[in-house]
Structures are given as C-alpha cells and as structure tokens.
C-alpha cells in the first residue's frame, strides 16, 4: 500500500516539476550572485571582505533565519509552486493569497496532485503579470526620475522604514488571518522588548546593531515561547472559515 502511494506521489510530472524547479532555481541563484560580482569587477569597485561583513552581518542574521522559517512554514501550502514562489518573492502579500484563492476556485486541496498543479498555475500567472507591471513601472519612472531626486523625496525616503513598519507591525502583532491564530503570542515578546528597550535607552544598543540584537533575542524568544506553549498559555487556535 505504501509502495502504491509513493508511486502515485512520485509520478513523471512530480519528478519533472521538482527537478526543473531545483535546477532552474539554482541557475537563477548563481546568476543573482554573479550580477554584483560582475558589476564590482567591471567598475573596479570590489569592496574588501571586512566591508561586506560589516554591512552584511545584520542582514544575514535577520534574513537567513527568516528565509528558512518561511520555506518551512509555507512550502506545505505552496507545494511544488514553492520554487517559483520563492524565486519571485512577495510571498505573504501576493503569492500565498493567490494560491489559496486558486485552491478555493478549483475546489482542490493542497498536497493532492490537483491542488499542487492548480497552485503552480496560479503562481506562474501571477509571477508573469507582476514582472510585467514592474517593467511598466520602470518605463514610467524614467521620465519621472528627476522628481525622485528632489530634497523633499530624499528627506521622505530617509524614514521609509518606520513608515512601513508601523503598519506592518500591526499585522504581525494582530491575530493571524489564515487558517489558525496564535493565542497570547504577545507574551513571547515581553522579555525581549524589555531587554532591548533598556539597551536602547542606556545607549548600549546603537543604530546599526539591530541585526546582532535579533540574533541574541531570537533564542530568548524561542525559549520563552516553548515554555509558554508547553504550559498551554500560548496556543494555536483554528480560525473559523468565513464564507463569502
């Protein structure tokens, strides 16, 4: 029986989609790394390793674990569309809702051959359109670029991050809109917030060291989450599905 199930899951299409996804994504990744190296070599602007480490430690400390956690969290929903989804980005704000919408329209369940195929159709169509719209944005930007060099715009762009984070954090701190929500999750934040606040107020944590702070706070948050989850204080609760 197990052998039969394996045969059904690993048919020709499934084998093809994973092989094509892996090889295609690997080529894309190598090309992504090639671009900055080619530009740096072409314009004799290759930075010293120390500069890359100085600029990159915070980014890597933050995004590598986030990237890994996203793959672990969303791949079961995205299925074999994951290769294209993670390659084209904009997962939470675009691809994931698109897949859920497609599954609903086709009345298919994920982790079935039908669900997997229809999810890939949705992600592929969405990815192509997004790329075309951004290209259109590039064409519109060229005549508008002088506007983006004004003092007003430069001043406004200095505060892009808090301008985005205020709204974004509301979404992170509020209840999840998907199939589940995490009850009492804000309790996980109390200790890290207190520690970081003290270090900011006392001047220990200065701007630029946020990445290091995240790396230090992450095990604390996970440890606290584990204790609260084991005690049943932090719980995963299923959201009720609202019919339109």
């Amino acid at each position: 029986m197990k052998e039969k199930k394996e045969t059904v899951i690993l048919d020709d299409y499934t084998n093809w989609v994973h092989r094509f996804g892996r090889i295609g994504a690997l080529i894309a990744i190598l090309y992504m790394v090639f671009i900055p190296i080619a530009i740096a070599l072409a314009y004799d602007s290759f930075p010293p390793l120390s500069a890359i480490l100085k600029g990159g430690i915070g980014v890597m400390a933050l995004f590598i674990p986030i990237g890994i956690s996203e793959v672990i969290s969303y791949t079961p929903i995205l299925g074999s569309a994951s290769y294209l989804t993670f390659l084209t980005g904009n997962i939470l704000n675009l691809k994931l809702p698109c897949v859920l919408n497609a599954l609903k329209l086709a009345k298919a369940d994920q982790n079935t051959p039908e669900g997997d195929a229809i999810a890939t159709v949705a992600v592929a169509a969405s990815s192509i359109l997004t790329m075309l719209i951004i290209a259109l944005g590039v064409l519109l930007l060229v005549p508008l670029q002088p506007l983006f060099q004004t003092a007003f715009v430069k001043s406004a762009t200095s505060y892009m991050l808090p301008a985005l984070f205020g709204g974004m954090f509301l979404g992170i701190l509020g209840p999840e809109q998907g199939s589940f929500r995490i009850k009492n999750k804000l309790l996980i934040m109390i200790v890290p917030v207190v520690i970081v606040s003290i270090t900011v107020i006392t001047g220990i944590l200065i701007s630029g060291l946020e990445g290091v702070a995240i790396l230090l706070m992450l095990p604390i948050a996970i440890g606290i989450a584990r204790i609260l989850w084991k005690k049943g204080i932090v719980q995963v609760v299923t959201n009720e599905v609202k019919e339109d």
Binding site: I27, I68, T75, F86, N93, S127, A163, L186
Partner: protein, 240 residues
C-alpha cells in the same frame, strides 16, 4: 565611476534584463506544464482559465504597491537594481529593511545618507549583501523541497506539530521586539513616523470594515507607506 553612475549603468541594466527574461521563461514553462497537468488530471479547462483570470485580477492591485515600493527604492539606489530585487526574490518590506540594515552596518545614518556619500564600493556591498541575505530559504528549499512537499503536511497535521507554527512566529515577533524599541526610543522622528504609519493602517482598516470597501485592503500597505513618508517630512520640520 560613482555610486549613482554604477547604479544606473548600461551594464547593470543589461544584466538585469537578461536575468528577468530568464525568470520570465522559467515561469512560462511552469505555467504551460502545470496547465497541461491540470487538464490531464481531469480539471476543466474553463476552471483552469478561471483560476488564471482570477489570479491575474488579484495580482494587479498588490503589484501596484510593489511598483510604488520600487519608486521609493529607486530614489536612492538607481533603477535597475530595485527593478531586479523587486521582480526576483524580494519584497518591498525586505528590501527596505535589508538596505537600511546594510547602510547602518557600514556606519551611515540611513540609506539616503549612504547614497549621498556616492561611494562605488558601498553600492557593491549593498548588492552583495542584499543578494546573499535573502538566499537563506533556498538552503532548505533546494535540498529538501521535494521531501517537504510530499511529507511535511502530514507531519504538521500531528497534534504536537503546533509547536512548529509557534516557533515560526517567533522570527517575526523577535523582529518587532527589536525594531519597535529602537524606533520608539532611538529617534523622535522615527517614533512619530512609526506611530503615524500604525495610525493610518488602523484608520484604513476601520474604514474598510465599516464601509465594506474590501478592494481598498490591497492598497493599505502602499497608501500607508506613501502617507507616512510624506508625514515624516513634516515630523522632521517639527522635531528634527
């Protein structure tokens, strides 16, 4: 060559366009094969076509938000690099955070100050860092993607797997735990802009619920970003 010259150079444009054509082809092959697969599995062509139409309609609005993010990033990082980053792998939030963290790591006050320094090596650092930093997910997806798609769902259905969901949320909660105090206690303009952003989002969410204008949901991020950035100029005049 300066930061600005390299960031808008013909070579970078060329490399980005080649890369985008490759990704476009990759997506087109996925679309063709998965469409054929749907038909083979007995899904009506009309249903598959409806899914495509619906996906395109759904994509249109959030894509406009991405374009607005592209406009913001291109003001300091030139055109081709943000075009590449937002078309491939990235998202507006991640790219802004990555650029900001990298600029601060290199002892600049922010991305704008970093661009202002016009150092070509800094642009190379930003490109390298933004590329490597966002590749973490592929360390898991490439070797384990196939196993995960055929086996992880079953594991998540087990009773004790809710820990996986809680642990996943810890990354975003830690992100908020660090950035909120830094922005609130570190700089008055940042704090005011942060609260303005939260307030605009909250007001828009209430408006959407109250008047059932659900189409507006797709614009919340873009409108919040734009209005809060404009407000930040006012806050700089008041508090800066």
């Amino acid at each position: 060559m300066t930061f600005y010259e390299i960031s808008n150079s013909k070579l970078l444009y060329g490399l980005v366009i080649i890369g985008l054509l490759y990704i476009l082809g990759f997506a087109a092959i996925f679309l063709k094969r998965s469409y054929k697969r749907c038909v083979e599995l007995g899904i009506d062509r009309s249903t598959v076509n409806d899914v495509i139409k619906s996906s395109l309609a759904f994509t249109l609005v959030p894509s406009i938000a991405i374009v607005i993010g592209f406009f913001s990033l291109s003001a300091v990082m030139g055109i081709p690099w943000p075009w590449w980053r937002l078309s491939v792998l990235g998202s507006v939030g991640y790219e802004l955070m990555a650029a900001d963290l990298a600029s601060k790591g290199m002892s600049y006050a922010n991305v704008a100050a970093m661009a202002e320094a016009n150092d070509p090596q800094v642009f190379s650092v930003i490109m390298i860092v933004m590329t490597i930093g966002i590749l973490g997910g592929f360390l898991v997806l490439l070797p384990f993607g196939k196993k995960m798609t055929t086996g992880l769902m079953a594991a998540r259905e087990k009773k004790d797997s809710t820990w996986g969901i809680v642990m996943s949320s810890c990354f975003m909660l830690t992100l908020a735990s660090v950035f909120l105090p830094v922005m609130i206690f570190g700089d008055a303009v940042s704090a005011a802009t942060l609260f303005t952003s939260a307030l605009i989002t909250l007001l828009m969410t209430l408006l959407i619920k109250q008047f059932k204008i659900h189409w507006l949901s797709n614009f919340v991020l873009a409108v919040t970003l734009l209005l809060s950035m404009i407000a930040s100029v006012g806050w700089q005049a008041l508090l800066g």
